[in-house]
Amino acid sequence: MTDTDAKEERIVAARMRLRERFEARMKDTPAMADEAPMGTGPANRHGMPQVPPGQHLAKGWPVLDLGRKPEVATGEWRLELAGACARPLTLAWEDLQALPQVDDVSDFHCVTTWSKLDVPWSGVRFADLAALAFPDDDAEFVLCHGYDGYTTNVRLEEALKPDVLIAHTVYGEPLAREHGGPARMITPQLYAWKGAKWISKIEFLTENRLGFWEQRGYSDTAHPWRNDRYS
């Protein structure tokens, strides 16, 4: 077995271990466990009503941020995985591109009451990235940081869902700067503020630490089908 094979085997084992640790809790999350979730329209692929309560389907794509839109060239872009993990690492753009790439169509629900359905994203699964860092057995949360200074916290049972991506492409084009390019996280089963634009760091945590909006009264859990906007 080569060193590369051994490394890939370790990463696969770490991914399986993470999955085993959080699979039961993932099934208990509101998006999957609620028997009568709120919302309207036909069921989406997760069995939830297509449009969560209080949401409106927008034709456009509003740009929301902290008032800063950092310009990060792909040559300068880095993503740090740190905190409660055995192998902290920093990925460059080519490292991200070398990981398994995923195309996924998902819905996007902003807490400001607009939604976009069927958005075609490409990127890398959060779960694949997380496995590279070998999160500690007592890591339960991540705090995601953006190049703009933004932070948001996500529970690992949510972040590890297969539709959570570090996305670099949307509608077949590189993710535009105003939408968080070159890469942002997306969390289709949570309100979209849980996906940091211009993502720069994923910090594994054993204790929950609130992010920017969560410190300002927005929900820690952010489940659209529970109208879970505020704490």
Binding site: G54, H56, A58, G60, P62, V63, L64, T113, R229
Partner: protein, 68 residues
């Protein structure tokens, strides 16, 4: 003074590159006319418009955490 969601977009007038002046009725019933980025006023699938974001009532009405 808490900010509120707008219940109704009454009128929208271009006011410069990428900017509009929107006349909005807030959840409390008061009207405001902020200048906002054009993408803050969204056309909705199926008709109608949505003012994205929250706005302060000039009369100081305090409807915290409106979710409409």
């Amino acid at each position: 003074m808490a900010s509120q969601h707008a219940e109704t977009v009454l009128a929208v007038t271009p006011s410069g590159p990428g900017q509009v002046i929107a006349r909005l009725r807030l959840a409390c019933g008061c009207e405001v006319t902020p200048q906002v980025a054009a993408d803050r006023i969204q056309e909705l699938v199926g008709g109608g418009r949505l003012a994205v974001g929250k706005y302060r009532c000039p009369a100081g009405c305090d409807l915290a955490r409106t979710t409409h």
